[in-house]
């Protein structure tokens, strides 16, 4: 169902920002994972 009414604000910056947060999590995790693998 389509809603009529005031246009929704743009949240593109939010989308990219949360993706960046996700990227920090993944990069840090992978670094420690690799360290774990190397030290096994």
């Amino acid at each position: 169902m389509k809603k009529s009414g005031p246009s929704q604000p743009s949240l593109k910056g939010t989308l990219i920002s949360v993706m960046a947060v996700g990227a920090v999590i993944v990069v840090m995790w992978v670094c420690i994972y690799l360290l774990y693998i190397v030290r096994m």
Binding site: S10, L11, I16, I32, L35, Y36
Partner: protein
């Protein structure tokens, strides 16, 4: 009464809680300063003072006392602000609760100062403190419960008078946090009352170590969220008002708090991943539940960015990130909390690493963990509390947060950020190089240990430099607190610091989000699922109880 003003009688109990919090903060940070110098072999303590004594004091005074007293001050002020002034019974019970919490704290501190309780803030058995230390801990928890229940009573009265309405977001979140705290404390109360006290007073001969540690961590992990949720409250409810915006989504905010009640408790085993007494299946199950708790934190991250972007665009921000520049960076009440949020990104990511089962072996019992909680509770939580302090004390004392104090506040948060960046980065990296946590100066004549004093960031000296900057920052904060409390000029109608509460549209919020029976019920179900069998195994297959150890 002016808008944003709290009933005069209610201010006093909040101020007493704040006073206790900041007294603990000053002593606790001083202990931290001594520690970094000892670890660096630059300081020898006198005979009558022990490293583990000040380490215990540092952990307890900052992680438990400062946080808890601050949180109750914030709750009392905020509940009085959003639900109306306390009735005489609620006020009386808040005072009684405060007195019991304070009495417990004093007992604990006396035992630590007397050298009878150098057991660190985790008070792991079989280290044994004086029995009165545990009595103090029990009183502390009981005191917080009395304060918590009296606030819930205030909320219940409001709901009786507003049938069918959703409560204001601040009150909802405070009640959710109190529910989380009460359920979490059941574990620590059980181990203190039924294991530690009988054992410390010599009524029983031994203690089931694994059971005590499991009950502690049943409490210890949600304790983390007891610190974090009030910071999230500031992020969700206070910050949008400061920047001139609104709460992004009332439903999403309430949902995230409900998810914390569900998923922050049945996860304690992720602190015990290297312990042999718990089978892998239960560790794995609790690891999965731990990862569930990431969801409400990511919901919070999304809500914050959305709040900022919408407000920044309203103020004329264009393009993908033009809205960032439009935010009120010159307002220290906002900037402090924004930096606090930023610290939580690597802080939260580190937490995910810690809880990743086998990967925990990389960091377990190393300085990494110390670095981790300094960029979680030590900055995202603590600096949010600083950001609240800047207006909360003037709000309660009727004084002005003057321009010169605002400049000092900027200096304070800048020094805290730089000090923490240096100290926690060094701690994380040293941890990866194997430097242990908890221990005093570790002068092993081994290449690995010598490497902990090489390098720019992988160096105990860097940690000490960061720690020193942090202590200067803490002293500056105490100066600001004293000014705001007693010395700053009195505010008038125009300069009065209001208690900022953002508008939150709850017209579309599902009513079941405030049906506590559902959430408490599911929480207990998850706890039963995650803990019943492993705890019964720990009790059934227990070795003979351990005797007491006092290593200091």
């Amino acid at each position: 009464m002016r808008t944003g003003e709290i009933a005069i009688k209610d201010r006093k109990v909040a101020l007493f809680n704040l006073g206790f919090a900041y007294s603990a903060f000053l002593i606790g940070t001083l202990c931290g300063l001594l520690q970094v110098f000892i670890r660096n072999d630059a300081l020898k303590l006198p005979e009558w003072l022990d490293y583990y004594q000040i380490l215990t004091a540092h952990g307890l005074l900052l992680a438990i006392v400062f946080t808890t007293f601050f949180i109750f001050a914030f709750f009392q002020a905020g509940m009085s602000r959003t639900l109306g002034a306390f009735g005489p019974k609620v006020r009386l019970w808040n005072w009684i609760g405060f007195a019991v919490t304070a009495l417990g704290t004093l007992l604990v501190v006396v035992m630590v100062v007397a050298g009878q309780a150098s057991v660190l803030y985790t008070f792991y058995a079989p280290l044994q403190a004086h029995g009165l230390f545990y009595v103090g801990l029990a009183l502390f928890v009981i005191g917080t419960w009395i304060q918590g229940f009296s606030l819930v009573g205030h909320y219940a009265v409001w709901r009786r008078h507003h049938k069918g309405e959703l409560s204001p977001l601040f009150a909802f979140m405070a009640v959710a946090t109190i529910i989380l705290w009460v359920i979490a404390c059941l574990g620590v109360v059980a181990t203190v009352l039924f294991q530690f006290i009988p054992w410390a007073f010599g009524w029983t001969n031994g203690i089931n170590v694994e059971l005590s540690r499991s009950l502690f961590w049943y409490f210890g992990h949600p304790l983390v969220y007891f610190w974090l949720l009030p910071a999230y409250m500031a992020w969700y409810v206070i910050v949008p008002k400061i920047i001139g915006g609104k709460v992004f989504s009332d439903s999403l905010a309430r949902l995230s708090f409900v998810l914390f009640i569900l998923f922050s408790i049945p996860v304690g085993f992720h602190h015990q991943l290297t312990e042999p007494g718990i089978s892998s299946f239960w560790k794995f199950l609790q690891t999965v539940l731990t990862f569930m708790v990431i969801i409400p934190s990511l919901i919070t991250a999304f809500s914050m960015f959305a709040t900022f972007e919408i407000r920044g665009r309203e103020l004329g921000g264009r393009g993908l990130f033009g809205w960032i520049r439009k935010l009120p960076w010159r307002d220290v009440r906002f900037t402090s909390i924004f930096i606090a949020m930023a610290f939580f990104i690597p802080g939260g990511a580190g937490g995910i690493i810690n809880a990743s089962f086998q990967m925990n072996e990389v960091i377990h019992n190393t300085l990494w963990v110390v670095g981790h909680f300094h960029i979680t509770v030590g900055t995202p939580v603590a600096m949010t509390f600083f950001g609240l302090t800047f207006w909360l004390i003037p709000n309660l004392t009727g004084r002005r947060f003057t321009k010169s104090l605002q400049k000092l506040a900027f200096l304070q948060i800048a020094t805290w950020s730089i000090g923490m960046l240096l100290m926690s980065t060094a701690q994380h990296l040293l941890g990866l190089l194997g430097a242990p946590r908890r221990t005093a100066y570790t002068g092993y004549a081994h290449d690995d240990a010598l490497a902990w004093f090489d390098g720019l960031l992988t160096n105990h000296v860097t940690m000490a430099v960061g720690g020193s900057i942090l202590f200067l920052s803490a002293a500056l904060l105490i100066f600001i607190v004293i000014q705001l409390w007693w010395l700053a000029p009195k505010a008038d109608e125009e300069t009065y610091e209001a208690f900022p509460i953002a508008e939150s549209d709850s017209s579309m919020t599902p009513r079941f989000l405030e049906n506590w029976k559902i959430w408490i019920g599911i929480a207990f179900l998850l706890i039963a699922l995650a803990y019943t069998i492993p705890l019964s195994e720990i009790i059934q297959h227990a070795p003979p109880g351990s005797g007491r150890f006092q290593t200091w």
